[in-house]
């Protein structure tokens, strides 16, 4: 056994360190098209203190560290580009506190979306958190760290990173720090009014430290839930339609989607509007107001609300939505890629056309769409490309599509989300040089030995 392995074993215990070939194989890749790179060690810490000790050791020994949540990011952000330690946080899955009055929960970084959701349903049924449309094993911390979004992002304040009330992080030099109100008083209720340091760890792809605890906002869980589905065949109408719905203030979640399959939906767009309420009357009133906002469209018969039979409605009411996860496997063979571009609403028609043009030219299938964020302040536009991993030519085509889509998203005035290293480089090239320099300075201060997730957000 080598010395590093021995010292890691001392910190977390033998059962939670591995350098076995099969473990290294699994942790060397994700479901996307990025090249695999094997770690030297896989470590599953059980506490923030253990994380601190592991990172401290890595810093002294200048060993790369890649923090990992659910491992579902698809764009290779947890692939250890330069080997080292993959720090799999899944053992740290305790729900530490739920504050019903101040509407927040504090969870360890390995807590999954499904665990918190189930816990809240069982013990605090009047509250919920915003769930991304990812498999339930996706972690809370991983998702906030990549600026994820979910079913409350439209109505309750935007990206999940904006719902963070506080963080506990291990710095690249091993120190354990708390950010937000929890740094000063016992409660994890707010980032204000202190200097906001939380952002140093959000959107950085694990290059500035390891999140060990998260304070996350909770919201009321109204008992009544229904869905309206608005069908159109004019892509250019999307910004106006979405804007009208948003402006009613009645929709909890708004998703826009188009896909070539099934045949009967090819050429049409669906806007799925989820509504919640505390009574049937409120639900009915909200539906009425939303319908009224689109009267102009359905009276001309150019668009309209689709009657949704109960079996179909059940799918639309699911949280998280499984449709995209199901679509991910449409080609079979376990491959799925996804460019999420954060962009202004008015760019949606161009993004749709670009997605169709790229996939048509390259010859792959697609699902395109957008989730509205923060009452229309932006949209998370997704270009989703499933593929068969066993088909090398298809993998190549999707990799090409991914690259072109990243470029296109930037040209359209959007910014690729949780993008792979080549996409990050595209963004950095377009970024204001002063901003780039600031990023470099921050990293230099926090991570002098550049051990954290090397390859990511690196200024060439």
């Amino acid at each position: 056994m080598d010395q590093i392995h021995e010292r890691l074993t001392e910190i977390v215990g033998a059962a939670y360190v591995s350098d076995a070939a099969e473990e290294k194989f699994i942790y060397s890749r994700d479901q996307g098209v990025q090249e695999p790179h094997a770690p030297d060690y896989v470590v599953l810490p059980g506490s923030a203190e253990e994380v601190s000790a592991v990172v401290g050791l890595a810093n002294r020994e200048k060993i790369p560290v890649v923090p990992m949540g659910g491992g579902l990011v698809l764009s290779g952000l947890t692939i250890p580009q330069k080997g080292g330690i993959v720090l799999d946080m899944k053992r740290m899955n305790r729900i530490i506190e739920v504050n019903e009055k101040s509407h927040y929960a504090v969870v360890e970084a390995g807590t999954s979306q499904g665990m918190l959701d189930a816990y809240l349903k069982k013990h605090h049924s009047a509250l919920k958190h915003s769930l991304p449309d990812a498999p339930p094993v996706a972690t809370i911390a991983g998702n906030i760290a990549i600026h994820g979004s979910g079913h409350l992002s439209q109505s309750e304040g935007g990206f999940h990173s904006e719902m963070v009330t506080g963080l506990e992080v291990v710095l690249p030099t091993g120190e354990l720090v708390r950010l937000g109100s929890c740094s000063t008083v016992p409660g994890w209720f707010s980032r204000a009014p202190l200097p906001d340091l939380v952002g140093l760890f959000l959107g950085w792809n694990g290059t500035t430290g390891v999140i060990t605890k998260v304070g996350i906002k909770l919201y009321p869980r109204p008992p009544y839930h229904d869905v309206l589905v608005f069908m159109t065949e004019d892509i250019d109408a999307a910004p106006d339609i979405l804007c009208r719905i948003i402006n009613t203030g009645m929709a909890e979640d708004i998703n826009y989607a188009l896909a070539p399959k099934p045949d009967y939906l090819n050429g049409f767009q669906m806007t799925v509007i989820n509504i919640t309420a505390h009574s049937e009357e409120e639900l009915g009133m909200k539906k009425k107001i939303i319908r009224e906002s689109l009267r102009h469209y359905f009276e001309t018969k150019e668009a309209g609300f689709m009657p949704v039979p109960p079996n179909l409605k059940a799918n639309f009411l699911e949280v998280p939505q499984k449709a995209l996860s199901k679509f991910a496997d449409v080609r079979k063979g376990g491959g799925f890629e996804y460019v999420g571009a954060i962009m202004p609403l008015e760019k949606i028609p161009q993004a749709c056309r670009a997605g169709m043009e790229i996939t048509g030219r390259i010859g792959i299938t697609y699902s395109l769409g957008a989730r509205i964020i923060g009452r229309g302040h932006s949209a998370m536009f997704f270009f989703a490309y499933p593929f068969n991993r066993a088909d090398a030519s298809e993998v190549g085509k999707v990799a090409r599509a991914l690259e072109e889509t990243n470029e296109t998203a930037l040209k359209l005035g959007g910014i690729p989300w949780k993008t792979e290293i080549s996409g990050q480089q595209l963004i950095l090239r377009q970024m204001d040089p002063q901003t780039r320099e600031l990023m470099e300075k921050i990293r230099g201060v926090l991570d002098p030995n550049r051990i954290m997730n090397p390859g990511n957000w690196e200024v060439a």
């Binding site: 069908m231 090819n266 050429g267 018969k301 150019e302 668009a303 309209g304 609300f305 009657p307 109960p310």
Partner: protein
């Protein structure tokens, strides 16, 4: 192409205009009804075309069987009136289109045509349907629903092929001459719409209620009377075959169910609201459903029985919330058989 057997002279001689005056959704005085109807017959734009709920009822109201509803649908299509938003219409045309996947199969009678509702196959079970063979799906779909979409042309184009598919792939190889229609829509197609457009139907369509009634007679000794009051949600396509309505009473008398006296029953039955909703007439949908379910409750109904799955899906939740049990006719009969 198959043309509607419609006699304009007959309408010209009609002084009561029952097709319009009895309509529960168009509220015209006789003078307006006459004038709008004349425009309809002459192929001119009329408010009838834009206001029609497509409930099929005028097919039943016309004392001369001159097919006023089919004429409305033809005229809507000719004049480009779209009762339902165009994307919904176009999408349905593709969704319900034939897939060309049908293959010959030998079946044992009774052969039950599930129409497009193969999702309801589980309803065909127990002694009531012992030995039955089920067929269904888009390659034998009657397509009559396109009456709601002003698309008679789609029915005209597809129906002959559907009939041939049924014959060549199922009935001929099986030596069967009878087809039990699970849905009124199919039965109405073969007994009303097809003859109206001069399309020959080479098999004998049997209404599901007719079939159930005959089976219940055979199983009479096993029936345990239910002793319940049951409201019947009459579907739009039953307007094409009103002569089958007596089977509801016949079946009820066998299974010990009481059909209560209601305001919205028989000729005055109300639409379930599904089609007005698709037409984006949400206030009307709400009004219809509220009136209908309130009427069921006021009549003392404990159950609401359906034959049309679409009516069931549209109205079941509301019926349930009103304290009634929504149930398909076949399931109600199975209950009486203790199944």
């Amino acid at each position: 192409m198959h043309e509607l057997k419609f006699d304009p002279g007959m309408c010209g001689r009609c002084t009561t205009i029952d097709c319009i005056m009895k309509c529960q959704y168009l509220h015209y005085d006789l003078k307006t009804a006459l004038s709008e109807h004349e425009r309809l017959v002459d192929g001119e734009q009329s408010t009838i075309l834009t206001d029609c709920v497509t409930c099929y009822a005028c097919e039943e109201y016309c004392p001369y069987h001159n097919h006023p509803f089919y004429l409305i649908v033809d005229r809507q299509e000719e004049l480009g009136v779209h009762p339902v938003p165009k994307p919904l219409e176009k999408s349905q045309v593709v969704m319900m289109g034939p897939r060309g996947k049908i293959r010959p199969k030998t079946l044992s009678p009774p052969v039950i045509n599930m129409c497009f509702f193969t999702v309801m196959n589980a309803c065909i079970r127990g002694r009531l349907f012992e030995g039955a063979s089920l067929i269904g799906g888009s390659d034998i779909f009657c397509n009559l629903m396109f009456l709601h979409f002003a698309r008679n042309s789609t029915i005209r184009q597809r129906l002959p092929q559907m009939i041939e598919n049924i014959m060549k792939n199922y009935l001929e190889p099986s030596g069967v001459g009878e087809l039990v229609c699970y849905h009124d829509e199919c039965y109405g197609t073969y007994t009303s719409w097809a003859p109206a457009y001069g399309i020959e139907v080479p098999f004998r369509p049997v209404h599901l209620f007719d079939f159930i009634y005959r089976r219940l007679l055979e199983l009479k000794a096993d029936i345990k009377p239910l002793g319940v009051t049951v409201a019947y949600q009459r579907p739009c396509s039953n307007r094409l075959c009103p002569h089958t309505d007596h089977f509801v009473d016949d079946i009820f008398s066998l299974i010990g169910a009481r059909r209560p006296k209601r305001e919205f029953e028989y000729e005055h039955a109300l639409c379930c609201g599904g089609v007005p909703e698709a037409q984006q007439r949400f206030e009307l949908t709400e009004e219809l459903q509220a009136k209908n379910v309130e009427d069921m409750k006021a009549a003392g109904a404990q159950y609401c029985v359906f034959n049309c799955p679409f009516c069931f899906w549209t109205l079941a939740e509301r019926v349930f919330k009103a304290g009634l049990v929504p149930i398909m006719m076949s399931d109600l009969c199975l209950m009486a058989l203790g199944e």
